[in-house]
Amino acid sequence: MATTDTAAKPGLLAGIRGTGAYHKLLAFSGLIALVAVFSLASRNFMQTSNVLAILQATSVNGVLAIAATLVIITGGIDLSVGTLMTFCAVIAGVVLTFWGLPLPLGLLAAIAAGTASGLVSGTIIAKLRVPPFITTLGMMLILKGLSLVISGTKPIYFNATPGFNQISLGSLFGSIVPALPLPNGVLILFAVALVASFVLSRTALGRYAFAMGSNEEAVRLSGVNVDRWKIAVYASAGAVCGIAGILIASRLNSAQPALGQGYELEAIAAVVIGGTSLSGGRGTVLGTLIGALIISVLANGLRILSVAQEWQTVVTGTIIILAVYADILRRRRL
């Protein structure tokens, strides 16, 4: 962003909220370039089964990244999305496997657990004014510990709930279009993305999320109950983490209590690559989705090219820095 003279550049960004659209193009062309490179490098890359595998691999991180996007747009951060996802999976395990209740109740419980955790984080941040980084760092550890305590540190299997793993792995789409058995998990990702995108652009919750990230004090002075909306954003992000919990539990057909830590960083990476500003005020779900896809395509493509896992991590890290640098360069040119 230019330093003093916003005055000197009227209308350059007119009609486009924030600069999301430019960055989306940037991230999108990055994704296309990656796909092109890998397709040329390996014949296996563009096969239907591999494309579906990439999408499937994106579903959990994509949903988590959408949760993180909601929070980051407000200028906050949520480090607890990964362990919250696991916590929600464990809760689903308790309801379905330990208590033997019907499937819908288990799903509801997972989402409710996520929402509740988000409510707690949001309340601590908004009312007690503990910085989001600290609050969610604490929540990350609390939820990790609780998952281990509740599950007795052992995985909870969903063998007693037939059809549970179909939530993620089954393919409703494939029963209509047999040639393209798109897993349900991917459909759920797209559905979550659509809803989140809609909420951000068309509802008061979304409007206040951008507004708070842009200038929280101004929103407060406008008579908006900032605390309440902030709590609502964290709660919504929590609910989305609940969905991620269901997705990962279904994919593994079990709740793995030791899993989860580390997912938050991958989610935040997707958000940042997708052009959402960590200082808040601007960002898009579509960008985040592209960001998550870039990470999965990289991991998948490098694996196909037999690059060691360790190097994949190095490349992902480099891409994060490059993505943000490209954005800075672009803004400077404007």
Partner: protein, 516 residues
Amino acid sequence: MKPDRDTAAPQRLELIGLSKSYPGVKANDQVNLRVKPGEIHAVLGENGAGKSTLMKILAGIYPMDEGEIRLDGKRVEIGSPRAAQRLGIGIIHQELALMRDLTAAQNIFIGREPRRGPLLDEPALNAAAAAIFKSMHLTLDPRVPVESLTIAKQQMVEIAKALSYRSRILVMDEPTAALNDAEINELFAIIGRLKADGVGIVYISHKMDEIKRIADRVTVMRDGEHVGTVPAETTPIETIIAMMVGRKLTEEALAIPDFTGAETALEVRGLRRGKEIRDVSFAVRKGEILGLAGLMGAGRTEVARAIFGADPLEAGEVLVHGRPVAIRRPQDAVRAGIGYLSEDRKQFGLATGLDVRNNIALASLARFVGPAGVLREGQMRDTARRFIQQLAIKTPSDSQEARLLSGGNQQKVVIAKWLLRDCEILIFDEPTRGIDVGAKSEIYKLLNALAAQGRAIIVISSELPEVLRLSHRIAVMCEGRLTGILPGGASQEDIMRLATQRESAVAGPTDARIAS
């Protein structure tokens, strides 16, 4: 002061015996204020006089300790910003309270978005904002993000926001601080229309000429107390200033020193960058104060930033003491002895979280590095104290956080920073913006003293009286061009003529450098 209860005329707003204390400070002590419908009531006072506390109580941000607020004769409680809005009290904050990433319309209706069911009704939102802009005779696309608007336009968005509450009372805090003359006229036209509609306006400002121009009455505050309320038209400015500062300020007449044979300290030749800077050449001599005047957007700040290396140049030469210097970055400028004091101290000039000592040392930290890289704190402290004394910086100690100082004293800290760096050429961009009358004259004295010591000074100011009072010569810009250089003591009319003149009237741009 006892509230006078004999006023029979209906009052739009009445503050009666309002008091507010913070630990150790009485911010407002028994303040009375009455605003009639359609009255423009100016509130004046130096920084710290209690104006902003008063405003924040009206805005519902702070509760008052004691007193009574009445709107149209009815006693009201203002418990929150929302309550203030509902009561029809609109506030235009000095530091614009806008959300930069949102559009103009979204800003205006934040918290009150028109909805269709659970969804935001964006077309209705834009239509409503467009209607307000139309009523203000303002051409502005409500869908534009405020980030891309000029400060003046952003201010208009703020006013539109206040109007959208159907405000009965509008409190404006220094609304013209960032506006040029044309924009001020536009603003005053809008204020005039509101006045005609019966809105009561509380107008907080430091600018006497504006108050004379639009205010009906003036209430002066000092140290949290209500000094008095006087009619604006018939009370002489000197009287009002005396009420504000509690003493008489003597205006020093401009004395222009003899510059024959004075060495040229800074010379720029043929500076160019796009439409912002078009072939600008001038020179400043040692001991000289050169005013740089022009309307907003004339390119004054751009020239200053380019000389300082903060923005790139397409063409042009900068000579310091006759030698060309290559300035690509601010570091190069500082090394050449050029200091730039930006118009936005908080954003660029001052590390507000650091204390006074560290702010002063910031640009010269290298000279305080001791063995093993450890900073010599004692030496830093001594230096800071020397400057605090020299420049009469009002601060409890050198370890006070810079953000806690008043605007005038913050400015002095920034000046101290550049003096410590041995800058022989100082560029001041709006040196007194947001600084009250008393502190202003101190800054003026300081600038004169710095010039008398042989430093070359460039002062950019949007306030013509300030330019006229300080400058030994006045360079005037319009639309990126230098349209002329006037001798000190030129008339405001001469400056305005050049400031609105599209093409250079001077025979050739090179002549401008020596016209004095």
